[in-house]
Amino acid sequence: MQDFAQSFLLAGGLILEADPALVEIVLLSLQVTLSALLASALIGLPLGALLAVTRFPGRRALVVLTNALMGLPPVVVGLLVYMMLSNAGPLGVLRLLYTPTAMVIAQTILITPILIALTRQVINDLDQEYAETFRSLGVPAPTAIAALLWDGRFSLVTVLLAGFGRAVAEVGAVMIVGGNINHVTRVMTTAIALETSRGDLALALALGLILLTLALAVNALTSLINAPARMSGNVRRA
């Protein structure tokens, strides 16, 4: 019990004095996850929107596939990316294994299906509402998609937050492809796993508290964004 309380005190100390090791890990985490989020957004938002508004053979199958890929087990993603990037793999020459870039790739693969599926949902709902008006006005498809993305922007930010939350908290994939190398690929989740197993509960707890705070902040932001959108978006017309 003594140890337990002690760990909390030490953890608090680490956070308050902005321990350099701690800061390094947190910054790397954010850098990796935000990069992955950017890459996923560039792929997922347009693709999700396209899936929502276009009709082509095989579209249904693609929707089912992205929905299924949302549940990709992170360790499997890690394994696949590992195989691609390892020396024997097809992308081995790039020498990316055990670099932050490898972790960005793994997280991107992990959350892109989520972004596609959620974006498709958001844009589809809005499209149901706008489609006939756009048809009447003769709005060209690219303009329509841009308008749907813009008018759905508040919901889409919450989609991005969901992707961020999933990526930043993930441990299996980045552990496999990053290798949890000190000062190079050690991020919050892998550091927590390692320090806990080594018995350094203070650092693990400090990182855990920061991760928890991030998750809460993401949640708070999501409900903050949704509240006014509900107010102005769905008020029944007289």
Binding site: Y130, R237, A238
Partner: protein, 260 residues
């Protein structure tokens, strides 16, 4: 020429812009629409001149809105032909037809943006692109300029309808399709809409007007299409329709009897 365009009456400007445009008469044959096994439009034949105001009357559920949406190309009929004569040839209601027309739906859908941004969106689809001054003028005409910055989705029902009308007129349409445009409106707004309809008519725009307001139909219509249970029961001049309707249904409807 420029002197004339400077006149405050935007009606004059519009009619000048419109002059020289090709007429757009309509011919419909055997139009039939079945939805979920129900016959909602039944073998409709209709010919409309390319000018004037045609009122489409009939009780709820008669098929008025669906007819208008078929004519505009939003709903594909089960059978029959719809031909708009436009720029020298007959068109089914295709993209070119829709772009030359404007529909104000019974429940207009506005974008989740400000009032002004709603007009800006449509302006972006037009060449030449109307200026922001033009848009503010359009808002002034429907008395919404003081709400330009407000979210369009928080407008009252009547304000939304007026914005939808401004959006439609911005379009500078050859044919204006109005589905109960003053259903939610107070008398002042109704007058405003009727003024806009008269102005459009005077400028050579064909107007198709669905309304339940008999007095309004008398004030505005040149001819009347009376629809009942998916069929056209009567299509005559407005004077003839209101003075001596030839069908029992129309006579009862005009008198205010309830049609079943």
């Amino acid at each position: 020429m420029s002197d004339v365009l400077e006149t405050p009456a935007s009606v004059t400007a519009r009619s000048l812009r419109r002059s020289g445009r090709s007429p757009m008469p309509l011919r419909v044959e055997g139009l039939t629409l079945t939805l979920e096994g129900t016959l909602v439009l039944n073998d409709i034949d209709l010919a409309l001149a390319d000018d004037g105001v045609t009122a489409i009357l009939g009780p709820n559920g008669a098929g008025k809105s669906l007819l208008l949406r078929c004519l505009h190309g939003l709903v594909t009929p089960t059978r029959g032909t719809i031909l708009w004569h436009h720029e020298g040839r007959d068109h089914a209601p295709d993209l070119a037809i829709r772009k030359a027309q404007a529909l104000v739906a019974q429940k207009p859908v506005l974008l989740r943006r400000s009032v002004l941004a709603n007009l800006k969106f449509v302006a972006g689809l037009r060449r030449p692109r109307p200026s922001t001054d033009d848009l503010m003028q359009a808002l002034r005409e429907v008395r919404l300029e003081h709400l330009a910055r407000q979210n369009a989705r928080t407008l009252s029902g009547g304000e939304q309808q007026r914005l939808a009308l401004a959006r439609a007129l911005l379009h500078d349409p050859r044919v204006l399709l109005l589905d109960e445009p003053s259903a939610n409106l107070d008398p002042a707004s109704t007058l405003l809409i009727e003024t806009a309809i008269r102005a459009a008519r005077a400028a050579g725009t064909k107007v198709l007007l669905i309304t339940h307001d008999m007095a309004q139909a008398r004030r505005l219509a040149d001819d009347v299409v009376f629809l009942h249970k998916g069929r056209i029961v009567e299509h005559t001049s407005a004077a003839a329709f209101f003075d001596r309707p030839s069908s029992a249904e129309a006579e009862a409807y005009v008198k205010g009897d309830i049609l079943l």
